[in-house]
């Protein structure tokens, strides 16, 4: 049990971060506003969850101008991909354990 729990990555251990990573896992570059909409988050809430993912270098940020409009997009890094996979493995093991009552 301890072994599984230590595999759960604290950086991913919140539903909104799982959401961000899941979206970035299947899409190459995703705009800030798209993330906000898909996850139904406020600016403050999205920013607070993006921050630790960025600090851990699990996601990459690109800021650019499209015409005169600034645009911020995000992608998952290779490190982030590997870390997220390990996290999903741990979650899967926990899900299996929690279901053993059936």
């Amino acid at each position: 049990m301890k072994e599984i729990l230590t595999q759960i990555n604290p950086v991913f251990d919140h539903r909104n971060r799982l959401g961000i990573m899941s979206i970035l896992a299947v899409n190459d570059w995703v705009e800030y506003n798209t993330l906000k909409e898909l996850l139904d988050l406020t600016d403050g809430n999205l920013a607070s969850h993006i921050k630790p993912l960025e600090a851990s270098e699990y996601i990459i940020v690109r800021k650019q101008f499209v015409g005169k409009r600034p645009q911020t997009t995000y992608a998952v890094s290779e490190t982030g991909k590997a870390a997220f996979r390990a996290h999903l493995d741990a979650l899967e093991a926990l899900v299996k354990m929690g279901r053993d009552d059936d």
Copy 2:
């Protein structure tokens, strides 16, 4: 995506709570000290995660004396079982989504 995330139960949305629920899902009554050991938590930490689970009536507490020693044990309630199952379903859906890059 929004639909999956709203199925993630905030009360369970922490690895230690997943751990507590997984242990209680497969064991009838578990002693406080056993939980502490299995999860490798301090008293304060375990108590802080037991509290919301108890407040939501997802787990049941039994306090009794074994000889002169007080003993606190926990079990999952029927409500807790159903809620945890729904949570695991949502996690599973998220895991599947996050793995779609393979």
